[in-house]
Symmetry: C2
Subunit: 467 residues, 2 copies
């Protein structure tokens, strides 16, 4: 019904739903403007659209009850993790109820002998890794935002700095518990490492951005902490050289754990925000994982490649505190962008292309930024062919906002024209909906619509997103 | 309609459909009994159920035309790759048209700079690897059957000996072209290594066993041929010891490329069939990939683990011809099983459990085989917790067949009770349908049914399989 009729529920209906939810949830239902506004998207140019109320469930049973009440009244349900979406995935364009899963933050089981764990969706990636550290294990997916929730990361098919080595959420979720739009609870798979038993429901719900159901539990693959880790910084005269070194490393089969590209504008921001002293030129941040000998070998081979691409000698960061400082700076890049232009808002976009097209795509994009008169640092997961542009705009300048949007649209079209995708890891949400058909074709999007309709026939689950 | 009404199409309707197909396909449509019987499942106890006709398309356009004609007449369509399914996936219980994709066997593109290639579904894994060898690349998924087609492997979410290191078909398919049940052609994804753009249609069609559409093109991930490869054989006094060594190697994070378990019965068959001279005791076949130094390091660490599990010293096979002989023997295990009991048929089943449960599951299964008075070698991808039992039965002895079936059922239930799956890599087909609900629960299977109905509302695609 939403997504076709595009109407908010009648206010009388909404009030009845909220009254029934209030009776069930007491003070775990909040309707204050401040809280509702916190649950509307605020990280992009997409207008914040608050829900009518926010609920804080503590169990799958709570989520089932909330969804059943919403279904009865035909009221939208928007799952909310940590609110770090860049594409308006948690916005409530048709009002309704935001289900904030932050209180469902328990680590339920760690099977260290099987390298997996079971967690609630509100657990953050930082929290799980702090919990696992003593057991010699870690969860690798690292989207940059340390406080991202694992439920949200699964919902947007997140990836990040370590994906080049360890994969995306699609590769690291073994099973999910899902509350369906009718309030029923299913488990999508078992704890075995692989299965050929039926349709792959796990991968269907990973990346569905809450439009098919709400994740209430995740079984995640874990990895052994590497025996040895080394990080390094390598500078290049041009962005083209930096991209080409990353491409050559991947093509040579070096199993880099991280290979992050930061352009000179981004480095400038990192220096200012993180009190670093890096030369302001295109740079790769690298990390190698393995045995002592393996790490040495990887680094040596990368060094040869970097030399051929006119890269500087490595600056090593082998001590944990140095390494952490470097990666903290990378993780803080969203904040570092902002210091480049006080008062401006960062509009972050992301694309991914086959790695052979990365240098061309980045170079054309930088030229486009310059020609558009915009300030937009580029930072990317170069090993995957994935990069972000963070456009700094003054939201009170509609002409500038329009220019930034046009740039972002051209970037999506450019990536698609290079056999790439309009979003490598941020998701479609509201912001990229218009690129879904250009990317997949109308007929494939019709299959997505048919699936959406089959699983959520009344369209209450996160209406207005993806399809 | 099929799967609910369970009726074959009326013979008049069938004749009309075949006449129309014959007009379109000429001698590429065959109705002879011999050919139809070749296209009915013959590898298990499931009764062969031949189609009414077989078509040999040469392009996606041919497949679209055939599907459109079948749809118009309401006639079942069963995609056929190489016919190596163990679970009756290519059987035609409701008659109809078998679409044999063997002529669609062109390698369309190899992008060596992006480590991917584009192939038609009839290309076999052997063919693609022969084509790639000179380019230093390979496609890793190795289900054991060298002549398996890549389309069939994707359809059953196949995996195999190298999955422990390189993943399953789910991990190695980047994109698919699919002819939908209405004859339309879609592309499920782009050539970028990752994407967060909409529902993961690729993973939905991987493992759908042709029940949602027919694969007419695959974009596959490739991997660099390892600089160094070493293979080894390691014997153990008991199956428990062999499992525990494999488990310990995985838990120690050794990136083994292959770790295959063969019980003493299987070794006996390999000796007879492949003219080997292996000690008839539980054995692991291992393979290590990496740099020279890396392979040495992995092998040394595995040696220490094997010693702790009472394993023999390695017998190395570093020369390519020795290594090939070893793996050829492993690949021929399906045939090797048969020499153990001339005249018997091999009923192969497969389960997968969390690796911590592997030893227990294998030991209980071996006890069950003994108590059931059956001959059933065990061979498995130990690193994934996945193993097969090949039960040798005389098909003309109904009591023995019943005993074999009961054993196989108990094995599926045992795996499910250990948080595992009733099939790690063979698929559900017809043979494992009754375990789909015990494994996933009725509500999750209802979601699969809803998806099937949404994409194939008239149920013409491979009716009677999975759901």
């Amino acid at each position: 019904m939403y997504g076709t009729s595009r109407a908010k529920p009648d206010q009388v209906v909404m009030k009845e739903a909220i009254d029934e939810l209030a009776a069930a949830f007491g003070n775990r239902l909040v309707t204050s403007d401040a809280v509702c506004e916190q649950h509307a998207n605020t990280t992009t140019w997409i207008l914040p659209e608050p829900p009518d109320a926010v609920i804080y469930p503590q169990s799958a049973g709570d989520v089932q009850l909330a969804v059943r009440i919403c279904k009865k009244h035909g009221v939208p349900v928007v799952a909310f993790g940590a609110g770090t979406s860049f594409e308006g995935s948690v916005n409530s364009p048709y009002g309704g109820i935001s289900i904030d899963l932050k209180d469902m933050n328990r680590i339920l089981e760690v099977h260290n002998e099987d390298f997996d764990c079971v967690v609630e969706p509100g657990v953050t990636r930082k929290q799980i890794n702090e919990h696992l550290r003593d057991q010699g294990l870690f969860f690798p997916v690292d989207p940059g935002a340390d406080y991202a929730s694992l439920g949200g990361m699964a919902s947007t098919r997140a990836s990040g700095t370590t994906t080049v080595r360890y994969g995306t959420m699609k590769d690291n979720v073994l099973a999910l518990k899902i509350v369906l739009p009718d309030g029923e609870l299913i488990t999508t798979s078992r704890r075995a490492r692989k299965s050929a038993a039926g349709y792959d429901l796990t991968r269907l719900f990973v990346g569905a951005e809450g439009t098919l159901g709400i994740i209430t539990e995740l079984t995640l693959k874990l990895h052994g902490l590497p025996e040895a880790t080394a990080a390094a910084v390598c500078r290049f005269p041009t962005i083209d050289d930096a991209c080409n070194a990353a491409i050559a490393a991947i093509q040579a089969g070096i199993p880099v754990a991280r290979v992050e590209l930061l352009d000179e504008v981004m480095i400038c921001g990192c220096n200012a925000y993180s009190k670093l002293n890096l030369a302001e030129t295109p740079t790769l941040f690298l990390e190698f994982h393995g045995t002592d000998a393996g790490v040495q070998e990887q680094a040596k081979r990368f060094g040869q490649i970097a030399e051929e691409s006119a890269g500087s000698a490595f600056e090593w960061a082998t001590k944990p505190e140095e390494r952490n400082r470097l990666w903290q700076a990378r993780h803080d890049s969203f904040w570092a962008i902002q210091v480049l232009r006080p008062g401006a808002k960062v509009l972050v976009t992301d694309v991914c292309v086959p790695i052979s097209r990365l240098a061309q795509c980045v170079v054309e994009t930088k030229r486009d930024i310059e020609q558009s008169g915009l300030i937009a640092p580029i930072v990317g997961h170069a090993g995957d062919g994935n990069f972000h542009a963070g456009v700094l705009v003054m939201l009170d300048d509609p002409e500038e906002v329009a220019r930034a949007k046009e740039f972002s649209d051209r970037l999506a079209v450019r990536a698609i024209s290079m056999e790439g995708t309009c979003t490598g890891e941020h998701g479609i949400g509201q912001g990229k909906k218009r690129f879904l058909e250009p990317e997949h074709g109308e007929l494939a999007v019709n299959v997505m619509r048919a699936i959406k309709h089959a699983i959520d026939p009344t369209g209450i689950m996160n209406p207005g997103k993806i399809v």
